[in-house]
Amino acid sequence: MAVRLTSVLLGVVALHCTLPCAAELYRVVDQNGKPVADAAVHFDDRQPATGSDLHTIAQIDKEFVPRFSLIRAGTVVDFPNQDRSRHHVYSFSSAKSFELELYHGETSEPVRFPDAGIVTLGCNVHDWMIGWIYVVSGTPVGLTDERGYIEIPAIDAPESLSIWHPHALAPMTVLMQPDSANRTLSLNMQETVLLPERPATTHTRRRRSVRSE
């Protein structure tokens, strides 16, 4: 692990050195080499969290859209309801615990997320609805795509980079080296994760265990 970590850092450094202003394509995989989608990547301390960004997480067809959001700490998130049924959005997460009781349309108050952490969103009316907000204090880089790829801007000097995922055993922080040739970031993921599943019909509710991809 140490070796790999070193090589990744070396790769990041190398990339950062040769192409100071360009971005490098990285890939995030789990311990089995499988790509990890929707992992949040951000630099920890490049810039302090400032400003009041706005972010919108709509509820469309009884799903959070987008399902994964990456925001800087202090961002205000609006939860517009585009469904005809009411939603009751809540979070019991320690980073931000809140509750938007049954509401229609744009009637809910926007929520501000001042603290870094992963906030899990749920709906008390629709148990299968789940969404995550990565609230980071550094500079967000982005979310990995379905194949685990993400473009990370080149760096000049070693920098601390964090990769979060709700199903990771723990958030990973790496010290990226400008010259590192390693473009693969490995994340230790839970083997199985139990997720609420949307029922095919309203009167059967079965919980399925879903293997995280």
């Binding site: 083997e191 139990l194 997720l195 609420p196």
Partner: protein
């Protein structure tokens, strides 16, 4: 016999009804029982499915409740606080809503955060298998023991909305649940487990006691009174379910049916026995009646018409036929018996009574009635049979019988008692009637009759016996009439009446004949010797050997009697042999003592019939080294006369060999002088009847004198027998008689006394005979 047939018939009928019934009943009952057991077993097998299904359904219901609880927003909110006190309160509060007996909350990793049941610190969550995250259809329910309690446990993940922990709710599996399951499944239910030491833990049971007692012997299913089926309900815990059915319940219907059927069968048995025995009695009744009727036939009662009644009653059926057949048999037997009786009583040829029937008739009143019994022998009938054939002889006999029947009164009993013997009994007749009856019978028999052109003539010899004079029973009288008949034949008379004593003579002769052989063999006979005295010299030169027999029972037996018996019974040869041997031995003894006398022995006429006598005599002499001239062989006149030719030859032979021959009892026979002259004879012995009859110059005296002179003229010596008085002696001496023998001189003496007598008397004889005391003594003794 008919009784046992009746019993068998009853048994057969009963058996015909009951045995198939029994077979059917056994079959039906067996099948019913098997079926009850089979369907009970099926029920037991399906009880597993039913119970599993019931438990699954309950699990589903409980799962729904638990899931609803896990999804409760307030609950999730409280859990999300991660405050253990709050969580514990929630578990108690929300668990009570769904009547949970145990509630626990666990982390995603399965660590117990809070529990209503007390768990030791080190204790891990006991139902870890339910927390699987993998698979799509994870079973989150189980029936699991915890702290000696059995729980149906349901685990539900708590999603907020991501998976934040587990809610685990347990519902007690207790007797109440067991009862509910039993009610639904229809079998008794017990939940139990067996640990490694095979001790059984029962968590819940409908019949705790029964289950416990059964569980002790869970393998044994047949005798315990329970049908059991054991199965496992959960792979994760060693808890088994025991489904049970009491046999009593299973076999309830079967037993009721069996009881009813057995009762019914018992009733049927009684009814069939009753009906069968009535039927059997009815069937065997004619048989019994026939047996009675046959029994009467056996008893000799042929008149019974029992068969007729049976035959009419039964018509042409088997019993009717049997009855009429028996009736014909009865008639046949009756007529045959009459015939047989007739044949048994009557002579088939002549139609006269037979001997047996005559005897029966005469003995009818215990003894023979007074009357005369005549036995008639038909002489010549045997000759007629021989000459003209038996058939002709039979016709002659039949004709004679017919004539006899015609001439005798009907009251006379006429019988055929032998092949040529008839008998006639006339009741109330006496001895005076015998002659008259004899005459009638003789004439009847002797009347000539022509048969097939041949005239046959019979003669009757008749023996008569009179009752009661000659006997009081039929057998005796008949036997005595036969004695009279044989006497008549012997005496050549046509009619002889039995004289009392003849029967005794006959018996005596029989006893003599019986004992003589033994007497000869055992030397019971002995010889006496009577001296013979010469008239001229008055000396004794010879003795006559006389055989004597002292019978142990009959006393003295006269030689005349037993010699005659010996002659008739073929013992004469042995007798002669014995006598000659005894005499020769005696003679030899006398020779040894110096007594020189000759001996005269008497030979039987039979001895002269064969030349064997020559050999016998010579052998005897040889044995004792004697010469023949010491013997005088005395032969009776009649013996010589009847067998002249052969006897003469033998006598001559004897003479040639040196024996002297004397004619004994001379004068009693009818010998001619010519015959006498031709015989080789040396002496004549004048029969004592002549000597004893001499008186003066009477006829006897003259005959004796003539005989003496005749003998002398033929050069024969004369011996006079029966000299008993001195007068006789003198008369005979005067006639020149040669030798005297008689009581005047001496009675026959035992051998031992002969020598004494001769030495005592011979000198005296030399002197005056008149003075001889012995002579006088003898004379007086003989008179």
């Amino acid at each position: 016999m008919s009784n046992s047939f009746q019993v068998r018939l009853t048994a057969l009928c009963v058996g015909l009804v009951l045995i198939p019934g029994l077979i059917v009943i056994v079959g039906v009952l067996g099948e019913t029982r098997d079926d009850a057991l089979r369907s009970a077993n099926v029920r037991m097998q399906s009880s597993e499915v039913v119970l599993t299904r019931l438990l699954d359904t309950r699990a589903d219901m409980l799962t729904n409740s638990v899931n609803a609880l896990a999804a409760d927003f307030g609950f999730r909110q409280a859990v999300a606080t991660q405050e253990s006190d709050t969580i514990a309160s929630m578990l108690i509060n929300h668990g009570a809503r769904i009547q949970a007996d145990v509630a626990m909350f666990l982390t995603v990793d399965g660590n117990v955060v809070s529990s209503t049941a007390e768990l030791a610190d080190s204790e891990l969550f006991p139902f870890a298998s339910l927390l699987s995250l993998s698979g799509t259809d994870v079973n989150r329910t189980a029936i699991i023991p915890l702290h000696d309690q059995l729980y149906q446990v349901v685990v539900s993940p708590v999603m907020a909305p991501q998976h934040i922990g587990w809610l685990c709710i347990g519902f007690t599996v207790d007797d109440v649940l067991a009862l509910e399951l039993a009610r639904l499944s229809g079998v008794e239910v017990a939940f139990f487990s067996e640990d490694a030491r095979r001790s059984t833990m029962i968590y819940a049971s409908t019949q705790r006691v029964a289950a416990e007692s059964h569980l002790a012997t869970v393998e044994d299913t047949s005798d315990s009174g329970w049908l059991t089926h054991q199965f496992s309900i959960d792979d994760t815990a060693d808890v088994s379910v025991l489904a049970q059915l009491p046999l009593e319940t299973v076999l309830l219907t079967y037993r009721r049916v069996r009881k009813n059927i057995i009762g019914l069968f018992g009733f049927l048995t009684l009814v069939s026995i009753g009906l069968s025995s009535a039927l059997a009695r009815r069937i065997t009744r004619p048989i019994r009646r026939l047996v009675d009727a046959v029994g009467r036939i056996r008893g000799g009662d042929y008149g019974a018409d029992a068969y007729g009644a049976i035959a009419i009653e039964h018509g042409r059926d088997e019993f009717g036929l049997l009855a009429s057949t028996l009736d014909e048999m009865r008639k046949g037997i009756a007529s045959r018996e009459t015939q047989i009786r007739r044949q048994a009583s009557y002579d088939a040829l002549t139609g006269l009574l037979n001997h047996r029937e005559l005897m029966q008739k005469l003995s009818k009143n215990g003894g023979i009635p007074d009357g005369v019994l005549l036995c008639i022998r038909l002489k010549r009938l045997g000759e007629i049979n021989e000459a003209l054939g038996r058939e002709f002889g039979d016709q002659v006999l039949v004709a004679a019988a017919r004539r006899l029947k015609a001439r005798l009164p009907d009251t006379d009993l006429i019988a055929r008692v032998g092949s040529v013997d008839l008998a006639v009994f006339r009741a109330s007749a006496t001895g005076a009637d015998v002659e008259g009856m004899g005459t009638v019978i003789r004439e009847a028999v002797a009347t000539p009759e022509r048969i097939d052109g041949v005239s046959a003539e019979l003669l009757a010899t008749i023996g008569a016996a009179v009752s009661p004079a000659h006997g009081s029973d039929a057998d005796t009288v008949f036997r005595r009439s036969l004695i009279a008949l044989s006497n008549a034949e012997l005496e050549n008379k046509s009619l002889v009446t039995y004289q009392n004593g003849q029967d005794e003579d006959r018996r005596r002769r029989l006893a003599i004949a019986n004992d003589l052989r033994a007497a000869i063999a055992s030397d019971a006979l002995h010889m006496n010797y009577q001296p013979k005295v010469d008239f001229e010299t008055r000396e004794c030169h010879a003795v006559e050997a006389l055989i004597r027999w002292q019978h142990p029972r009959l006393g003295f037996v006269s030689p005349d009697q037993f010699v005659a018996v010996a002659e008739n019974s073929g013992l004469i040869g042995q007798l002669t042999r014995w006598m000659l041997d005894a005499v020769a031995r005696q003679l030899s003894e006398w020779d040894d003592t110096g007594l020189k006398i000759d001996v005269a022995v008497n030979l039987s006429a039979r001895d002269l019939e064969s030349a064997a006598i020559l050999t016998l005599l010579e052998d005897t002499l040889d044995r004792y080294s004697l010469r023949p001239n010491r013997f005088v062989l005395e032969v009776t006149e009649s013996a010589v006369i009847h067998e002249t030719q052969r006897a003469a030859r033998i006598l001559k032979e004897l003479g040639d060999r040196g024996f002297r021959v004397a004619i004994d009892d001379f004068g009693t026979g009818q010998s001619s002088m010519a015959q006498l002259g031709s015989l080789p004879v040396h002496q004549l012995k004048i029969d004592k009847s002549f000597v004893l009859a001499m008186d003066g110059n009477n006829t006897a005296t003259r005959i004796v004198r003539a005989m003496v002179e005749l003998a002398h003229s033929m050069d024969l010596k004369v011996v006079a027998e029966g000299v008993e008085t001195l007068g006789m002696w003198n008369t005979l001496a005067q006639m020149d008689c040669d030798v005297a023998q008689g009581y005047l001189l001496s009675r026959p003496l035992p051998a031992g006394q002969v020598s004494g007598w001769i030495s005592k008397n011979t000198p005296a004889l030399d002197q005056d005979i008149e003075r001889t005391g012995v002579f006088r003594e003898m004379a007086s003794a003989s008179s």
